[in-house]
Symmetry: C2
Subunit: 253 residues, 2 copies
DNA sequence: TAGTGGTCTAGACCACTCA
DNA sequence: GAGTGGTCTAGACCACTAT
């Protein structure tokens, strides 16, 4: 057969498409610009819409695109670097403007949380819900679990409800001598409640940062923070963190 | 039609499927067990294969499943915790068995790397390729960029080729006084070469850890490590890192 | 109401693994 | 060669946003 070039390893169409689009984004589009709609793009490249969508999904996963139902697909700005655990021995900041307390409940925690906290499954635990905003966009939703025994001086009277109670718990927590912290990062998909708070659809890819705060020789608090994977770059360590935007990515094929 | 329950917020089928499958995995399957094939599963749940696949993809993203072409879908073991930057002031280990040197070249680096290294774009940089294995599985592929000026005493004679040269570069690097390191974690998709090394298909989700090593008041080396997102939990900090496996995940709906 | 992305279907063929 | 997951098509309808 007179195929022009016999590809030894035939690249999937969507993969090739992704490369082409990626280069077009670099050279022909600027941040915030709206792309043609999916039906037009698919027709232009001569593929089915599902195939085009596979390419767009990857580009969205890599933080190059932003898609919103009813609106369209736009070129995403570079990922924002969010500091995570810069200070090895700092409590989750109660004040400052990065985290905003949303709510606080007192109840028995999920079994997995109780295990990580090394509390009895029936011991009541404060669950503080916070959200983090950066550059005007919501970037993370956090659940902070604080065993009642970590904040013994907190009385229900001090903390009547909601955000006020959350702040009271955080204030009490800071009185403890923090000895260290452990973190872990893994990929997850947004639960319905987190997705809503992050302005994404359920199932959207997120980076889950689990942090254990150690004080008095035990786990004094546990934070499970869910970051938008499409828009965030988590930075650790002394200073700001490295930014490498690989630019036009050439496929080795 | 006599639909049993009129869902006020109709959950997508694939989302509901994912929940059902997730529960089945918890209660009826054990690690390593093979699931029925996709065509059978789709028929059993009364959905198109594409819809079923959407659910499976999510579960794979969350590290619950492992799929291999030509073989089948199996229940994945819990994610392995891999230590990343446990020691704030440690060079990338040259010895030890976690990282294995694969290759080493000396050439002008990509522009983005040169910028992060603060070298002239034409300055030659050693590119050390290493792979990391954990529990017998490849978990990460790394490119370590070391400017020639960081290892001035290295001569071509010391390092004839391949892995030997890579080890020589690492040895020289360790002689510098390390002042600190910066890391950043973000979501990416595997390039073709990394995918091959990680035993995944191109485009597979990966956690990209970019680390800058500081010595002599400048960036002495830059590491770009690509971790399998499906099998890895990256741990930072003093000790091992937290493990929270949420178990059966109840959807708030 | 028009236009967007999100979901879903019922097929088809391909690339790969393994007996 | 049989069976698996991976890719692709050409439709359809739905949920959401803006006007």
């Amino acid at each position: 057969m007179g195929t022009t070039q016999l590809e030894s390893v035939p690249e999937p169409k969507y993969w090739h498409l992704k490369t082409v689009l990626s280069e077009a984004l670099d050279s022909e589009f600027s941040v915030g610009e709206i792309l043609p709609n999916e039906r037009d793009l698919a027709a232009r490249f001569g593929v089915a819409r599902a195939t085009l969508r596979q390419a767009l999904e990857q580009l969205e996963l890599e933080g190059r695109l932003q898609r919103r139902r009813g609106v369209g697909t736009t070129v995403a700005p570079p990922r924002v670097g969010v500091a995570v655990g810069t200070q090895q021995h700092a409590w989750p900041e109660a004040t400052g403007d990065v985290w905003q307390a949303v709510d606080c409940t007192l109840a028995a925690p999920p079994a997995a949380v109780a295990a990580a906290l090394e509390t009895r499954p029936d011991e009541a635990v404060y669950t503080v819900r916070r959200s983090r905003v950066s550059h005007g966009q919501p970037v993370a939703a956090e659940l902070l679990y604080v065993p009642e025994s970590s904040v013994p001086d907190l009385s229900a009277i001090d903390a009547p409800s909601g955000p006020a109670r959350a702040r009271a718990v955080l204030r009490e927590l800071e009185r403890l001598q923090l000895e260290g912290r452990d973190s872990a990062v893994e990929l997850g998909s947004a639960r319905a409640d987190d997705a809503k708070e992050l302005d994404r659809l359920p199932g959207a890819p997120v980076l889950v940062v689990t942090t254990r705060f150690l004080a008095d020789g035990r786990t004094a608090a546990l934070s499970v923070a869910t970051y938008r994977a499409d828009t965030c770059r988590l930075t650790f360590g002394d200073s700001g963190g490295v930014e490498i935007h690989q630019g036009p990515e050439r496929q080795a094929s």
